[in-house]
Amino acid sequence: MADPSLQIQHAYGVPLPSRFGRQDGDPGVRVELHGALSICTIQPFRGRRAACAAALKNAIEFDLPAAGRSNRRGHNMVAWAGPGMFVAVFADPSFVERIREALGGNAAIVDQSDGKVLFRVSGRDARTLLEKGVTVDLHPRAFATGHAALTLLSHLSAQIIQSDDAPAYEIVLSRAFAADFWHWLEESAGEFGLALSGNGNSG
């Protein structure tokens, strides 16, 4: 989608990378906002789930995850996103088209690269921070790497995926909610110290 004339503007209301909240010591929470990701939803048509799984495996070597789970390689992932729905997130902007070509006819593929924003939340206080936003039990005995949940974060619909054991989480929400998410984050993470980074910040 490289374009010579129209400038990209990321979601409204997330400031440029900086340190927020308490300034002393290591930040307890690190948040990266990535723009320009390739995101799409995959909804297999009736009776086509197996065909979709095979085609996806063949095309990009990813399995369709079980309910409440995700499959990942680095920052690329395919996650469960509700009954009959999956979300794929890839760094390479060509992926939506690759998936569409691979699954065409077997599933509804909807580009959400601009409809969703993805925040990566990590740091020693990441789980404590999320206790202030989601009611899902994130204790390692209940929610582990690879788990995915659809829930409310504060009062925003969100999907939360644990991406590693540190733990780190990925939070996917609607682009129009980015400013409200940031408000919640700044209020809630201030006590831990918050380092915001990424290339999807709008300033």
């Binding site: 989608m1 490289a2 374009d3 010579p4 004339s5 129209l6 400038q7 990209i8 503007q9 990321h10 979601a11 409204y12 209301g13 909240g21 308490r22 723009g35 939803t41 909804q43 048509f45 009736r46 009959g84 729905m85 599933a107 509804a108 909807v110 580009d111 959400q112 690269s113 601009d114 409809g115 969703k116 206790e131 202030k132 989601v134 009611t135 039990d137 204790h139 005995r141 209940a142 504060s154 009062h155 925003l156 609607s174 682009r175 129009a176 909610f177 980015a178 400013a179 409200d180 408000h183 919640w184 209020e187 809630s188 201030g190 006590e191 709008s202």
Partner: protein, 995 residues
Amino acid sequence: MTGGDNQLFRLSAGGLIDRKAALAFAFDGMTLHGHPGDTLASALIANGVRLVGRSFKYHRPRGIFSSGAEEPNALVELRTGARREPNTRATQVELYDGLVASSQNRWPSLSFDLMAINGLAGPLISAGFYYKTFMWPAAFWEKLYEPMIRRAAGLGRAAGVEDPDRYEKATHHCDVLVIGSGPAGLMAALTAGRAGARVLLVEQDFRLGGRLLDERETIDDASATVWVAAVEAELESLPDVRILRRTTLFGSYDQKAFVAVERVADHLPEPPPFLPRQRSWRIFSKQTLLTAGSIERPIVFGDNDRPGVMLAGAVRSYINRQAVKPGSRAVVFAGNDDAARTAADMAAAGILVAAIVDPRPESSSAMQVEAKAAGAELLAGSVVTRALGNKFGVQAVEIAGTTGARTIDCDLVAVSSGWNPTIHIASHLGNRPTWNPQLSAFVAQVMPEGMQAAGAAAGEFALAAALSSGTARGAEAADAVGFTARRTAIPRVLPEPSAATPLWRVRGTKGKAFVDLQHDVTVSDIVLAEREGFRAVEHLKRYTTLGMATDQGKTANVTGLALMAEITGSDISRVGTTTFRPPFTPVAIGALGGHARGKQFRPTRHSPTHRWAKANGAVFVEAGHWLRAQYFPQPGDDWLKAALREARAVRERVGFCDVSTLGKIDLQGPDAARFLDRLYANTISTLAVGKVRYGVMLREDGFVLDDGTVARLADTHWLVTTTTANAARVMQHMEFCAQVLWPDLDVCFSSVTDQWAQIAVAGPRSRDLLRGIVDPACDISDARLPYMGTLTVTICGGTPARLYRISFSGELAYELAVPARFGDALMTAIATAGKAFSALPYGTEALSMLRIEKGHAAGSEINGQTTARDLGLGRMVSTKKDFIGRMLAQRPALVDPARPALVGFKPVDRNERLSAGAHFIDVGAAPTTANDLGHMTSVTLSPVLGHWIGLGLLSRSRERIGQTVVAHDPVRGRSTKVEICDPVFHDPEGARLRG
């Protein structure tokens, strides 16, 4: 603050306080001092302050009565200015340097209170006073009685300005929740924690230990506080045990959910940066142990509310925990052996114990031993009938009994009538407590699922029993959630005497005998309630206000119930209890709201062109969760002037408007066309690829749900739009249809509202403008893209986009959709390309003007009470297929020709203004409901016609075109003659659309 440290009532040794650090604080302007470890109450006692407040109804002088959450008297306003917080319990306020508190409910000052005259007028304001006195005349209530009562009564004053502090909410999940950190709670948490369970221990105090902090107990041959510290350290070391201190668990709810409030920064002058003042916790636990201890009961006697009358357990707490003396010369009045230790503790603290008054005829050997040791006279078979004294407190007590009537000087009366297990949390789900005659107390016999009580909360008052039941229940809880708990050895403790006979009240006393100190409910109020027939406990409560107010009768309810039982000659077990409801102690609304206040009360959605609109001076309006540009004012503009300019630009040249906020739903699948036919009232499946159709959908009940466009992008791929406000509702409706009504249809859909920025470009020059945006290789001529067509194009040198030729304004118009990241840039590009045509951006006000001129229904007309026929869309409704709402839309009332239907209006005098909401009546008819013919739904000053026009719903409107009715607007005081006309004011043939 200045002033010397003058803590005359501080003991020279002992206590869990840091004597090296002095904390200065102010009470009613006096500067006083205390130490870390003090509560405000203990620090006031240390400084000899006895009078701390005035009572609610009679404004009687009151002192500190308890040492905990049950405190009825010592309510203060804490802090000043915006942080002023009324009705805080001095007994729970942790002292900090710079604390400022003032007494409340007094005027002009605490020691001289004019309202105390109410005490003399006592008989006038007995139970049921308000109900009896202020019934007539009704108008007096609002104007006279209520303001008077509000001034006279009430507790503290709210700050009245915005709270400067932050609050937040959090969630915790655990295997075992332990409520209270006394001996039972600590053993339970330790046992479950050692087994590996996820344990949450919640303690309302700033220090763990419960009553162990208040008594001189030994555990394992050392001071109990040493044991508490060791257990605390071990709990802290267990990775899955969490301790929340300064946290009150105040409510129990269904599905094993609990709510607690953590006072994160209430013990500091103001919250440190980045910390909230309070945090409310939602807690989900599999097993819950209620180890909340017990609350002591007073004995009711004459003038028992004087400062210096104090619960015996509180006296011990102040002596042992904070090393302060609540008095110098004391009388103990109690019928239980627990009180023996009160005498012992007082004697050890150097308080002279003048007498132990024991209503039991023989007292007990433990009492005799303790009385002797304390050098106190033991008056068995006796009672205190009245406290004598002045506003600064008790000076003597009158005693009657087998030893004869006498008066004994004292400044402290320690009273106890036993203890009530603290079972509120076990009762919140509706379980009624059960009377246990052995314990003479209500216990939680029927517990909510997954909850057990231990220790004093279970009526196991002795320390050994508390430790052992805490261990056993903790182990059972851990086992129940799949762990294997080891039953650890119970620590060694000394045996305690525990004989008790409750005495609720002393009969035949003089002076007021208070049952409920906070609400000034006396024995005679309860007698009166019974006499007037208010015998059922719920009636008793409401008639006398027993157990209401901030303490919810924690020291009063059971006594009141016992009195009602006594008066009616029934058993207390049959009298029952009133309903326990959350919260256990008062909770600030702010803590429940968390971040969700002000603009954060609900989510705000920002459109992908928000930045551009803001930079271009837009005034925003809330539409659903969205902020939309309402108009773009120039200097000196009001909204009307700005909107007229914007609308004229569209009619005369070209304008552009962000329509990204409209709901957009992507729909795919082999059965998508069939799904849409069932969803919409009109036929959709016949639409050709590359075409757009206007659609209207009904609710099951036949009324219109929403309208919008449907575009067929490919054979099995559709894009549906909804109105901004109804987007979520329509999505929900579609989910319901797909999942519940027609699970056989193979259709997938998802919201793409956020994915696309969509800009309407409208006006006679819109195509010319777009030629500067759309890449030259893309043909957008009328032939290639006629009205109601759609095309994929590239714009601005290669950006993929979709162009729809649809019009809400009635002009030649398009909507151009690009991925949201390009929204702001596209607005800039359109503004730049539009300069040649003097194009203007327009907002929702101009949008509304344009649609009213075209007679299009919008939110004011699609209001949930109108049918397709009412809106003039009757001919769209298919008769050839089934769809949602078809049957019920045929109900007689919905097809009644007299139903108000959409039509246009012009003022007969074209200079007159119309108002939305005005009701139509015939000329000359009285403006009554019976003559109501319908109402005006939308009005605007027409940019084309230059006068006001309106749309409205009028009975038999089509037949009446050309006639005149009156639009009557009683709200604005306008009555306007209006001419009924076709709702399409502009270009009725639609020639401009197809240009």
